[in-house]
């Protein structure tokens, strides 16, 4: 098993957005990238962390009273000193409104499988299944593979959503045999810009995409997140389109920017550098779509 125990940030049931049919999505914690626009900031770090949702706080101050480390200033309301916090969980137990919670739970692989099987009749009747997402589900490749294997043995369709930044050999040896469908991101074509906005170069991602495209090992879908001024630039999208065409990829999904993550980032005490707070306009979306003319677009928007 992996050095660090892989944690689950959330299991989202009844998801209709992450693959075919009705699905449960497992969001793992930890990701090799740190994209400036990351939609799931609670999944970036591998360890557990304290989350404070200001909108739910009733201001009772119970958290400050119960904290043994004095990590929460009197009156509460999210004034948390994360240096002092030991993640003991006393404040989350005491919080009456669930404004405070600890993100990150560990499941034994078989327990996770059992939990996910609760909704099997819905998967079966809708052509759905389980989506392993994150964060990055390939960070804990052995663990993810054990879960995927357990699910497949029980007849559940398994989809992996990945950033593509993984060791192909480990992936092919452990996880791939237990996966029905892979969603892989192509964010930025330029290696330099990729590193600037995600913290990592993209050579391994491109190599993995080429292997997926050429191997027919598994069904896959390339997804392009549209982040205004970062990925959704004319130059980047044109480069991605050209790069994909050369490799015979003609089916993609475009994911329009969703600003709702900003509040989540704040609730973890982060102050993100990228801060667009509005949805994309019709025109912005259409401009992006136009660049991908000739591609089959999964789910129009």
């Amino acid at each position: 098993m992996e050095k660090r125990r892989p944690l689950v940030a959330e299991i989202k049931r009844n998801s209709l957005d992450d693959g075919p049919g009705i699905r449960s999505v497992v969001f793992f914690k930890g990701c090799p990238l740190c994209c400036v626009w990351c939609h799931n900031p609670e999944c970036t770090r591998a360890g557990d962390e304290l989350m404070f949702r200001a909108g739910q706080c009733v201001g009772c101050g119970a958290c400050a009273e119960v904290c043994k480390e004095d990590a929460i200033a009197a009156g509460g309301r999210g004034a948390i000193d994360r240096e002092l916090c030991t993640l003991c969980g006393d404040c989350t137990d005491e919080c009456p409104s669930d404004a405070l919670s600890i993100v990150g739970s560990y499941y034994e692989p078989e327990d996770l499988v059992e939990t996910l099987l609760l909704d099997k009749p819905f998967y079966d009747n809708s052509g759905g299944g389980v989506t392993l997402s994150g964060g990055e589900p390939t960070m804990a490749m052995n663990y993810t593979a054990a879960v995927a294997k357990g699910l497949r043995e029980r007849g559940v369709h398994v989809l992996v959503e990945t950033c593509g930044d993984f060791s192909w050999k480990r992936f092919a040896d452990t996880l791939l045999p237990h996966v029905d469908l892979v969603y892989v991101d192509m964010k930025i074509e330029s290696a330099e810009l990729h590193e600037k906005f995600t913290g990592r170069p993209n050579d391994r991602i491109k190599a993995n995409l080429e292997r997926l495209a050429s191997s027919a090992a598994v069904e896959f879908l390339v997804r392009v997140p549209l982040v205004p001024e970062v990925t959704a630039t004319h130059a980047n999208l044109r480069s991605i389109a050209a790069w994909l065409r050369e490799r015979g990829v003609d089916r993609i999904a475009l994911l329009p920017y969703n600003p709702l993550w900003c509040a989540k980032a704040q609730s973890l005490g982060d102050s993100p550098a990228y801060d667009r707070s509005t949805f994309m306009s019709r025109e912005e979306c259409d401009a992006a779509k136009k660049i991908f003319e000739g591609f089959r677009l999964e789910r129009d928007f």
């Binding site: 049931r13 009844n14 209709l16 009705i22 009456p96 409104s97 009749p121 809708s126 928007f301």
Partner: protein, 981 residues
Amino acid sequence: MTARSQVLSETLTPVLMDAVLKGLGARAALDRKFRANLYHDVGSGSEPWNAKVVFRTRDGSLQRHMVVAKGRIRSGRGAIAGADATFVLRDRAALKKMLVAKPAESMEMLLRNELSFEGNMSVVARVSYLLERLTAKKQPDQNPRHDFLYKSSLAAPVRALASRKSDAVEYLDDPSFSEWTIEDFPRLRGFLADAFSTRPRISTERPRLLTEHFKRHGFEKTRDGKDRDPVLRQAQAYKYLMENRQPRIRKGDLIAGTTTDKEIGVVVYPDLGGVLIWPELYTMHVRDLNPYIIDEQDRRLLTEDIFPYWQARNLREVARTNAGNPECLKLDERFVLYFQWKAHSLSHTIPDFPSVLGKGLGAIAAQAGAAEASADDEGKRNFFCAVRLCCEGVIAYATHLSEEAARLAAAETDPARKAELENLARICAKVPAGPAETLEEAANSMWITWVACHMENTNAGLSIGRVDKWLQPYFLADMRRCADDEARRATIRRAVELIGCFFLRCTDHLPMVADLGNKLFGGSSSDQAITIGGVLEDGSNNVTDMTYIILKVAEMLRLRDPNLNARWHPDVNSVEYLRRLCEVNALTGSTPSLHNDKAVIAAMQGQGFAIEHARDWSATGCVEPTSSGRHFGHTNSMMLSMVAPLEMALHDGYHPLCREQIGPHTGTVAGFDTFDGFYRAYLEQFRYVAQRSIECNNLFGETHRFVRPTPFLSSLLDGCMSSGRDVVFGGARYNSSGIALIGLADVVDSLMAIKHLVFDEKRVDFATLLDALEKNFEGYETLHARMLNKVPRFGSGNAEAQRIAQRLIDWIYDLYQGFPHYRGGHYTTGYWSMSNHVAFGTLSGALPSGRRKYKPFTPGITPEPGAKDTLLQNIQSVAGLDPLKMPNNIAFNVKVVPDPHDSPEQALDVMTAYARTYLESGGMQMQFNVVSTETLRDAIEHPEAYRNLMVRISGYNAYFVELNRELQQELIERNEHALKH
């Protein structure tokens, strides 16, 4: 209230009260027309109305009386002995308010317990009417309704189903008829526009003819002083009504006969609850919700002639007199604990249409005639005679329709219509007297019989049954007579049009709803349930051509009534059929509702129905199963608040809103050491309320035997003809009464909160919790947040909440099964609420679940919207409950919203998957509302653009714009589940 206005109330109220009473006296003395209100028109002459009425505040500090005698009104201070009715006001301010309030506002006062009544409710209604007349001005009429048809976001594409023929379909190649829309049926399009632009009018035809008959021949006794046999009496009056009512054929219709003499008529049943509309006769045409027009001559007829006759003879007052105004009746009139339907209707059953179609009423009359001749006792002889008279009356009405059709045909210049009318003349001469042979004859036979049913019994929940099963043989016969494909196509098209006409005929009447009813049953129509699909008596597939024809009609017309209910048997009916049901539901917004045939049949078998009779069930009124044509199950005999006993258990039997000790002393909260101790107190309070409600139901049921035997309906329920007994005497083959229990999730969530916070975690002591409820959580924000967030709820998948729910359901089932039933048979329990979850909610304080004061309860068996997590847990929790313990069925609401970006295919896939999984997991019933919160909000702002926006409440459909605001809000606050992909 400010100090100044309090002083004004104190001093001015007595002055105002005296002035009003003096005013009444003066008006009676000076105004001849007004004086006419103080007489009964009995037989040939007028008799004075005598009554003593008291008005008093609850503390007795202000008391006045009025005496009506010999056409005069006098009044005075203090109470008076032997009052017929007493108006009890909470305080002087409430009395002042009542004197200046509109009828709708005094209803509000009643529901807020500022006002209550003692004694004869009809006298109360009549006095309220007089007070209203004294102060009311003539109200101008409102604008007519708009004919603007809202279309759902999913209105456009209808796809062909799988090309193969599904289920037991014989002829249809495309069971969803994807090429047809309403525009292809101009006749239906026209009727539909009329249905939405015609304003309902009060029809006095029925009560006028019946009252006329009884005045001439006597009610209790004949003119020469002999006791009248109630069964025979009802039949004689009924025959007179049927022979003398207008035979009307709507212009252009393929089906003859109308429920009333108006285009859309409101039927009055003064022998039941009709008298309660009295105070509103001059305001009902301008009331906010569901205004009815009434003509001046009808007002006068009701006030001076009809209502006075029934004032002491209606069911409620006869029951009161016979039983000495018992406690159970007084509790009914507080509205807080339970609502008894028997005082308003004998309905909620399914007549035996197959007998009418197969052999005809003539054969039933002949059978009754033979049995009458050979009957061995007078009771049976009278009963059979009564059946014969009723059938003869209906046949006479059909004959008059035939004559009317012939008359119209003779005058008709358009040859096509002339041919239709000549055909109708032929059909009405043939059916329902004789057997039907074609679909057109069968549809007319059913409709005329249906009109006849409503001339006898209240148009509230009386239901039509398995129309697909019963009409399919006639459709097949028509198809077999076709020579070629073209003829077959025309026959199928004609079948759609004919069923469309039948559906639209069903919209020609509305129930008489007092403004109080708009509160209690907002937007409800007659709830004429039609049931399709499922299995036949032998277990084989009943999804046929006719099933799909009915679905097409429902899809095109999008009517709230008939209330379409679809049975789906997971082992027998196809998934394609389920998908088509979901599609029609998505296109119409809220119909049909879906039932798990397997679970309902098992539940009915648990009640002693033979398997073939259990399989022959139809939904009744809202969702309740009745074995078609052989079962008098009065499935909505009463609706009971599960929350009221909870509030009583929290207060040692005292009801906080009623401000009265109602239940037994079960201890104050300080005395409960364990959760189980409190739980037992709740059960004891529940048992007390249930017992009173059963007493009340039995009292009304027994009173029916004198006031309201129902021989025509009896002729259409198997068992009565062999036993020679009317249904009110238990003549039907199967007997039961159904209960709707309201507020399950609120009670379970409250019990969970008490268990967790008071006993398990000891977060709060019980007395403090009670104080938080008393203050509606003000100053207790932290505790309130904890209730809402930290206590697992029913519907969240939490095992403990699920256990408490099942334990309660089991206990309630056993309790009711143990009650004696006046007709034999059982009391069956179910969990659906019409709109009473809102009404009972307005009568309840804050709850430990975190629900605030006066807010609606959750509808039916639906989990509270705040039960966390997703629809899947809701589905699994509800499906996990034992259907055998809920034999009167449930209503589970799910609001889904298709994303306009998605293809209807994808949205339908998801909807079908939800429904299929729920039903396969054992869930009994589910109903989708396919509408967005945004649309509902817009409809509140712009009601004129959403005239036909249909929503499902809890078991029945309603037009959203006709609902009261609380109910609209409840629908908006329901969880919304996106159907995006």
